[in-house]
């Protein structure tokens, strides 16, 4: 009776060990997969662009991910192509004109950089 009980306990312990090992293996695989996905979603060149003076949210947006690109073709996803411009985007497009530098600012930039003015 004692032998049978010992055998049952040993079997239960072995099964528990196998289950634990399997769980650990699955966790490692998942972590590896997550890392792979995360690496693949990083841009080819990772130098941060446009983070100086940006808010935290904007900093994250300006440093991460391909954003709307099909991973297989590199072309914009249908969902990206399907996005339509609303009032906010139209305002941003109009606002691009406000960023054109004034003549005197351009001349200072040209002079500082050793460029040529027309």
């Amino acid at each position: 009776m004692r032998t049978i009980l010992s055998l049952c306990l040993a079997l239960a312990a072995t099964l528990a060990m196998f289950q634990l090992a399997a769980q650990q293996s699955n966790t490692k695989d998942k972590q590896k997969q997550d890392k792979q996905v995360s690496d693949d979603d990083q841009p080819l060149y990772t130098r941060p662009v446009g983070t100086k003076g940006a808010t935290k949210a904007k900093k994250e947006s300006a440093t991460n991910a391909f954003n709307g690109i099909d991973p297989n073709t590199g072309k914009p996803l249908p969902a990206t192509m399907g996005k339509s411009a609303g009032a906010a985007e139209t305002l941003l497009a109009k606002g691009m004109f406000d960023r054109v530098p004034k003549r005197e600012v351009l001349m200072a930039f040209v002079k500082e950089g050793g460029l040529i003015a027309r």
Binding site: T46, G50, P76, K83, L92, A93, M96, P101, I116
Partner: protein, 290 residues
């Protein structure tokens, strides 16, 4: 004998008069036929006029309206990197190059918030470079070369002419109609949708791309930059290989432009003929884009 002759002449004259009379209604019919043909030809003339309108360049107002709608669509797709210092910097570099553009329109520059590598020109002088491209560019001369390429596309209306060729039949009908107010905005938006779809799927002709590489680099040289800026950036892209990540980053560029090695070879031949001078302003570029 004389009487016979007189009789014959009378018969012939009478016959001729009868024949002539019979033919006159026919001559009237001929006139009608000419008139009908003229009337039938009128719609064809109208169509030709509409086609001419379709192939004629957009007016400055049309170009600005369609360009603005296209730029808004691009911003809706990817978003703009909203950093005041970055936007000020790219507009300074772009405007320094655009001073020498063959056609002077208000060029303006923005950075699209995507890791994809690319640069785009929509009508009306809206020029975009992607965050992914800026991250791979090493100095101001390279950025100036990229902007020069896009400025040439915008200045020489490459996209407009290509689209008008491929969409002549449908756009001719639309452009034959005079639209104003909200209808005009809607028409511009519809054209922008079509234009952006083609921008991401259509190859411009090899001549236009080669021309934009060479003349765009020339604009950068005229502004005082080193002539090999665009070429060096293309070499950086080529060196990045063909990993899945590179395919993802370059997919758009490869599907709409000639192969990199061909572009580099042609640019190298041009660069070797240029005087070895011009600035690169590497540190200013790194400060301006961080």
């Amino acid at each position: 004998m004389k009487l016979k002759h007189v009789f014959c002449i009378a018969v012939i004259a009478g016959g001729s008069a009868w024949i002539a009379q019979a033919q006159l209604p026919g001559l009237g019919g001929l006139k009608n036929k000419i008139d009908n043909t003229k009337n039938k030809a009128k719609p064809a003339t109208d169509r030709a006029e509409k086609a001419h309108e379709a192939f004629a360049s957009w007016s400055p107002e049309e170009e600005e309206g369609i360009g603005e709608a296209s730029a808004a669509k691009m911003i809706a797709m990817f978003g703009l990197v909203e950093s005041d210092s970055l936007n000020a910097y790219v507009n300074l570099v772009g405007t320094a190059v655009a001073q020498f553009a063959p056609r002077q329109i208000p060029y303006r520059f923005g950075v699209l918030d995507t890791g994809m590598i690319g640069a785009f020109a929509t009508p009306g002088g809206f020029i975009f470079v992607t965050r992914g491209a800026v991250a791979g560019i090493k100095n101001e001369a390279e950025l100036a070369g990229v902007f020069g390429h896009e400025i040439i596309h915008a200045s020489e209306r490459h996209l407009e002419s290509q689209l008008k060729t491929t969409k002549a039949s449908t756009w001719a009908k639309e452009e034959g109609k005079a639209v104003k107010g909200p209808a005009l905005l809607e028409a511009n938006r519809a054209k922008a949708e079509s234009l952006i779809t083609d921008l991401f799927n259509m190859k411009l002709s090899r001549d236009k791309e080669d021309g934009a590489d060479e003349r765009g680099s020339m604009l950068a040289v005229q502004a005082g930059y080193a002539p090999d800026g665009l070429m060096n950036f293309l070499i950086t892209l080529q060196a990045s290989g063909s990993s899945p990540k590179a395919t993802k980053a370059f997919g758009q560029l490869f599907s709409t432009h000639p192969p990199l090695d061909e572009r580099i070879t042609k640019l190298r031949a041009w660069v070797e003929k240029q005087p070895k001078k011009g600035v690169t302003n590497e540190q200013r570029f790194l400060d301006g884009t961080q």
